[in-house]
């Protein structure tokens, strides 16, 4: 008796929908084992991770705040991945966007510059993110350099640029030598949706991005071009679509969205530029994109779920002294299971019993 993977005649849409749920289920089982090994009560830990954050309004708001950059970045990444362009450097594009937008905020600090400041910051951040993402895209198209490596390496460049600026030229003179800029002026800050809360306008922007991506991919010829270039490159060329153009376009859009997410994070919840503005949003967004099956609506749901693990991880750290790194372990295991479960869409498991008994006829 053996277990084999057997190819399906057509991809299973049912499995395509439930495979992320199977992956989440398997991840939770693995986490239970991990908690038990760490000597923590698995049930309490799961409660702290997944239930407790949903029971108070502060945490719910915080989930939406954390989900905002995740969803925006993941939407951009999903376009890249659909087009078979592997942007792994959203974290860097996020940081560069934050830096570029902050430049206006820092330069207009205390000048009563007017309401134009925030829009210009947003545009500049998006443009910077796009340009930064174009570096690996152009290197791939022109020289055949692996965009996976170049985009990833540029993350560290962006990280160091930010570090240099907040420790050097942009450091808050009244900041007791902490590596941070001064708090942004109100005109350079993303408005809150509810006074006194944490939810900000960025969440609305994220929802608009989701809607726009859904229309682009489902209804337009450009969206079709992106999908077909990734799904069947030779057929795409036969259809008259240029895969290089798609690489450039999807990288630019994804960089712009990551950059936008970066400045919204800095000019919103954080309020100033400093190192460590991202708990790895750009990398976690890769998991969000795949958990959401590269589908805009799926990404919205997946973004909220991953945000829950961030909040739940903090909760578990406070109440149960579970290390924060366990959250990253959780996310890593989740990505692993998501990708593994994807094979069930095209294949199914089957038990095979070798069957050798046959009526012995003679010729």
């Amino acid at each position: 008796m053996q277990l084999v993977l057997e190819k399906r005649a057509e991809r299973s849409n049912t499995i395509a929908l439930i495979s992320p749920l199977i992956a989440i289920g398997l991840t939770i089982v693995t986490m239970v084992i991990l908690f038990a090994i760490l000597g923590k009560n698995p049930l309490l830990a799961l409660h702290a991770y997944f239930i407790a954050p949903l029971t108070d309004s502060y945490s719910l708001e915080e989930i939406a705040v954390k989900a905002t950059p995740l969803v925006m970045i993941a939407i951009g990444l999903s376009l890249c991945y659909l087009a078979n362009a592997w942007n792994i450097g959203a974290e860097g594009q996020f940081l560069i966007g934050a830096v570029a937008g902050s430049w206006i905020a820092v330069k207009t600090q205390g000048t009563d510059a007017g309401v134009w400041v925030l829009p210009v910051m947003l545009v500049l951040a998006a443009a910077a993110g796009a340009l930064y993402a174009l570096i690996p895209a152009i290197c791939k198209v022109k020289f055949g350099a692996s965009e996976i490596l170049t985009s990833l390496m540029l993350v560290y460049v962006a990280d160091l640029v930010l570090d240099y600026l907040v420790r050097g030229p942009w450091r808050d003179p009244h900041g007791f030598n902490f590596p941070t800029t001064a708090e942004f002026d109100p005109v350079a800050t993303v408005p809150l949706l509810i006074e006194g809360g944490r939810l900000h306008l960025g969440s609305i922007v994220a929802l608009l991005v989701v809607a726009a991506a859904a229309i682009l991919l489902g209804r337009t010829i450009k969206g079709f071009e992106i999908r077909v270039v990734g799904a069947a490159p030779r057929a795409a060329r036969f259809g008259g679509f240029n895969s290089n153009q798609s690489v450039i376009l999807t990288f630019a859009v994804s960089g712009a969205l990551a950059g936008l997410a970066g400045i919204i994070e800095v000019a919103g919840p954080v309020g100033h530029l400093q190192p460590g503005i991202s708990p790895g949003y750009g990398f976690t967004a890769i998991i969000v994109a795949f958990l959401g099956r590269l589908n805009p609506l799926g990404i919205l749901i997946a973004g909220l779920f991953l945000a829950l693990t961030f909040i739940g991880g903090e909760q578990a750290q406070i109440t149960m002294k579970i290390p924060l790194d366990v959250t990253k372990v959780f996310q890593g295991i989740l990505l692993f299971y998501v990708l593994a479960c994807d094979s069930l869409i095209l294949y199914r498991f089957k038990l095979v019993f070798p069957n050798r008994q046959v009526a012995r006829g003679t010729g």
Partner: protein
């Protein structure tokens, strides 16, 4: 009646190889359904069947490449379990595949050495290789690198490699598909000789005349089941075809009085360097194709047909716009989309991955080639109703069979997908249609539909260019036939002058002497 020993020749002996109830199941699909076959020494046994009839599955099971789900294999009367090809080889079963497994950058001798199981030294292998190739009249230079060789020579490597194992039983999978008629004749001499030495041969083919000429026994498969085992020499090609197809094969007919009109596709001295390593360079190709006319391009695979298709379609651009003229406009520099807007349509050889995106729906695959010129896109937005309508119209007109209204391309059978692809282009009413291998691996019913559609399109006034390795197909539908060899295209021959012999010579790279041409016309 299904007892293969009815001819009485083998009574009292054991067959070399026998399968009883051999069954292979893939999911719900029965690729082989309880197949009994006996192979005797000194026999050339044909395995006949359409694509998808289960021929490849059966021989893969016999060669140990796949494990049967049920049933038994007997070798010299004893039951055996063949766990892999090397075990099959060690027992004396050899196989020559349709798709060669050769390393382009290695020499002939290196390739042969890689394929052998024993511990022979490279020097001994080279020596034995030369000896075997001499003995059987399969000339090979052991020191040449494979990429320099013709397809026929590459096949010789595979055959010699199999013969060096001294097999009692040799399986050949559609060996003549890649050969010129003359090369095929040479191969038959080799096979007759192997038979005379007492070996058995299982010969997979769907070319009926060939089977009648060469084979002593024929087993016919249809839909995974064995239909009949018979003596092909006592059958007619038509009766064999009926057994293969399970009914009458529809004959295509050209409408009488087809008029040729103005030139719609003109190629002027097209020369194009290959796009990839070991590709073929197109050399000074010129022809003119009028409306109402079908021009066939024959030739052994790999002589530049793919490169010509890419140049004509615009997947590769040529520097000089005037080299390709579509509907009177210089188009050599235009993209495939712009050429479609001029009224050209294209059907590539590969159905999955080139002609269609396999994992996309038919409606999306209609959009793939229709987005530029068929009113499926308005202001950048896709008109889904229009794409679905194209699917419905194609389904209706060309009898595309599918499980639901809009399935994924990959879920269709080869024949039905090909009907969809050809139909998709024809329904756009093209002025020029360039088709590569229109019925490659397609069942006889679908092939007839497609050939008829091409004829009807020409009758309606379009210019049709058909590239095919199947000379019978070209003879059936083309008005003129040109031959591609090493990137050169011969001058087209009118169909009345294009004898198999002449085409075979051109396919092998000979040029027709004027006298010879005249002589052949008289013959």
């Amino acid at each position: 009646m299904l007892d293969p020993t009815t001819n009485g020749l083998h009574s009292g002996e054991t067959p070399l190889l026998r399968t009883i109830g051999l069954t292979k199941r893939y999911g719900d699909f029965l690729a082989n359904d309880a197949i009994d076959i006996d192979i005797w020494p000194k026999e050339i046994h044909a395995l006949l069947g359409e694509n998808g009839a289960g021929k490849s599955t059966l021989v893969k099971a016999i060669y140990g490449l796949i494990q049967p789900s049920a049933g038994d294999i007997f070798w010299n009367g004893k039951p055996v379990a063949l766990t892999g090809p090397s075990e099959a080889r060690s027992r004396g079963i050899g196989m020559v595949f349709q798709h060669f497994s050769l390393f382009d950058n290695l020499t002939v001798a290196e390739n042969v050495a890689l394929g052998l199981d024993g511990r022979e030294s490279f020097k001994d292998i080279s020596a034995r290789l030369e000896q075997v190739s001499k003995t059987y009249g399969l000339p090979l230079d052991p020191k040449r690198e494979v990429w320099q060789l013709s397809v026929g020579e590459r096949q010789r490597i595979e055959i010699v490699r199999a013969l060096m194992q001294d097999p009692q039983f040799l399986i050949l999978d559609e060996p003549t598909a890649v050969l010129t008629p003359q090369e095929a004749d040479q191969l038959f001499i080799v096979l007759e000789r192997l038979k005379a030495e007492g070996r058995a041969i299982l010969y997979i083919s769907h070319k009926l005349e060939e089977v009648k000429r060469l084979c002593d026994t024929a087993t016919i498969l249809r839909g995974g089941k064995k239909v009949e085992t018979c003596n092909p020499r006592l059958e007619t090609a038509a009766s064999l075809a009926r057994m293969m197809v399970g009914g009458e094969v529809k004959q295509v007919k050209a409408a009488a009085g087809r008029q040729t009109t103005v030139p719609r596709l003109v190629v002027n001295d097209l020369t194009l360097a290959p796009g990839e390593a070991h590709g073929v360079r197109l050399e000074h190709i010129s022809f003119e194709l009028k409306g109402g006319e079908i021009l066939g391009i024959a030739g052994v695979a790999g002589n530049g047909q793919d490169e010509l298709f890419a140049a004509l379609s615009g997947e590769r651009l040529s520097r000089d716009p005037g080299t390709i003229v579509i509907e009177g406009l210089a188009a050599g520099h235009l993209s495939i989309t712009q050429r479609r807007k001029l009224g050209a349509a294209f059907v590539p050889e590969e159905r999955l991955g080139h002609g269609t995106a396999p994992r996309m729906k038919l409606s999306e695959n209609a959009l793939l080639t229709g987005h530029a010129a068929s009113g499926m896109v308005h202001h950048g937005f896709i008109d889904t109703a229009a794409t679905l309508k194209t699917v419905d119209r194609t389904t209706e007109t060309f009898d595309v069979r599918k499980a639901k209204r809009d399935p994924e391309a990959a879920s269709l059978s080869g024949g039905n997908l090909q009907k969809f692809i050809v139909g998709r282009e024809i329904l756009r009413n093209p002025a020029v249609l360039v088709v590569s291998q229109p019925t490659w691996g397609v069942d006889a019913g679908a092939a007839a539909v497609i050939r008829q559609a091409l004829l009807d399109l020409a009758t309606a006034g379009a210019a049709v260019l058909v590239t095919s390795q199947d000379l019978d197909e070209l003879a059936e539908i083309a008005d003129r036939i040109a031959v591609m060899f090493h990137g050169h295209l011969s001058a087209p021959l009118a169909i009345s002058e294009a004898t198999r012999e002449k085409l075979g010579l051109l396919m092998g790279g000979s040029t027709l002497e004027p006298e010879e041409a005249v002589h052949a016309v008289g013959a």
